[in-house]
Symmetry: C2
Subunit: 273 residues, 2 copies
């Protein structure tokens, strides 16, 4: 009955658009409603309680758009809130952590995996926990990289300062001889070339966005919830974008990373939900 309803996706800001990009690539039929919580970002340095409260509000807002499933396209919110909210809401909710963990476990050859992310994600230990459940023999080393998001947002993607900061953050992981590194924050794929050069070509970089879209596709198919082919073809509102602040800035950024031009982003007051 809800087959043709949109998928709801939320993130603290623009980072989750890397997940939207993968969903569009893998499921071009599906409608999407995206919410970026730009009035309260970042999530990575805030507490579990606060992130759970924000996640509930974000989901309640997306439910007003009659979404059929929720994707938490933010590592910190997936780490802190997924377990709580998936019990509280009736529709399927998936995060980005499990998909990233599965890919990493499948990719490692020497059983040594590194995870980089925000203080919230790394401090939660969630990647270690999920990876250990998949394979208790794997060793996981986490490293918080709090300056990566501000550096990306300042546009210093290829810069000597970013190289220097990345070298410091990653030196500990290099010392542990990891062969697989999870980019555990949606902003980090934008630093992929810097991180890859420092870690060396023997280290596999895992971007959870790709794997999350695959997991979502499997889930929708399994439950018979995939959109009917062609149903959204002429829908001008196939992709809808909402933020809690700075809608125009978001539109410009979204257009730069999504395959189609984003016409409009609407601003809402998320504190009301």
């Amino acid at each position: 009955m809800y087959k043709n309803a949109p998928i709801g996706v939320f993130d603290s800001g623009v980072g989750g658009l890397t997940v939207v990009r993968e969903i569009i690539r893998q499921m071009p039929e599906e409608r999407i409603v995206y919410f970026g919580d730009t009035a309260r970002l970042p999530y990575g340095s805030k507490s579990r309680d606060t992130i759970i409260r924000y996640s509930r509000q974000n989901i309640r807002f997306l439910l007003t758009m009659d979404v059929k499933a929720i994707v938490i396209a933010c590592n910190t919110a997936s780490a802190y809130a997924l377990e709580t909210v998936e019990k509280e809401f009736e529709l399927p909710v998936i995060g980005v952590i499990r998909a990233g963990a599965v890919t990493a476990v499948n990719a490692t050859r020497n059983g040594k995996i590194g995870v980089i992310g925000t203080e919230g994600t790394v401090g939660s230990g969630i990647y270690t926990e999920v990876i250990k459940k998949l394979n208790p023999d794997v060793k996981v080393t986490g490293k918080a990289c709090p300056l990566f998001v501000p550096l990306v947002e300042e546009g210093l993607l290829h810069d000597s300062v970013t190289d220097e900061i990345a070298s410091r953050y990653l030196s500990e992981l290099k010392g542990r001889f990891i062969d697989t590194l999870v980019l555990g924050c949606t902003h980090y794929p934008l630093l992929r070339s810097t991180v890859g050069r420092i870690m060396g070509s023997d280290v596999t970089l895992v971007n959870p966005a790709y794997e999350t879209a695959l997991e979502l596709k499997a889930l929708l198919e399994e439950r018979g919830m995939s959109c009917e082919p062609g149903s959204a073809e002429d829908d001008p509102d196939k992709y809808r974008f909402y933020v809690s602040d700075l809608a125009d800035k978001f539109t410009a950024f979204a257009t730069s990373i999504l395959p189609k031009q984003v016409k409009e982003t609407r601003k809402i007051n998320i504190e009301k939900y």
Copy 2:
């Protein structure tokens, strides 16, 4: 009648404690209630509308503590919200911009002033506007320094990376031959030595916190609202601290920059106000 009531101070996080420190130094008799909006920080990269809404909520919360005056100890909130909220509330509200502007105009000898701050503060043009009203002949050059706050929060106060970023941000101001530089963000005094070394000893650095406390003192005296000597002497709640997230982290930081140990910080839900 409200003489012995506390002064209400708010900021997006811990930065405003530099203003509290100055108030304590200059008015040791006064009670203070501080609110740090740690669940929604930073303010510097968000819109005018959002910052006005947040400022109203922060003031409404402080009013529940029966404060006699409000200090907006945040440059961005002073830039965006002061003009609006001082009309909406009956008690005196002061910000940090005017005090910084007055000091800078008094300090400059060649009539060239620089202002560094967040994107919000610099983009608002408020310092230029206030300085021009004081002296239309002064030239003002603003420069946003978005990485300074994350660098301070990462603890890189004396570091080659901070030197490199500061050199880039400040090169434009050096090229304008300014002789006075306003540290237009409450975090920036913590980078004072780096900024001072790059700008050179001929450039006067202005910290609005000091001058704001002076302005507040004059205002309270003028209106007969100063605390009666000794009235708060034995009050265990003379200084009260509230945040919207991460109370323990705040307590530790506040203790490190205030003259007395902060015993307790209480967490509130600011979205309810």
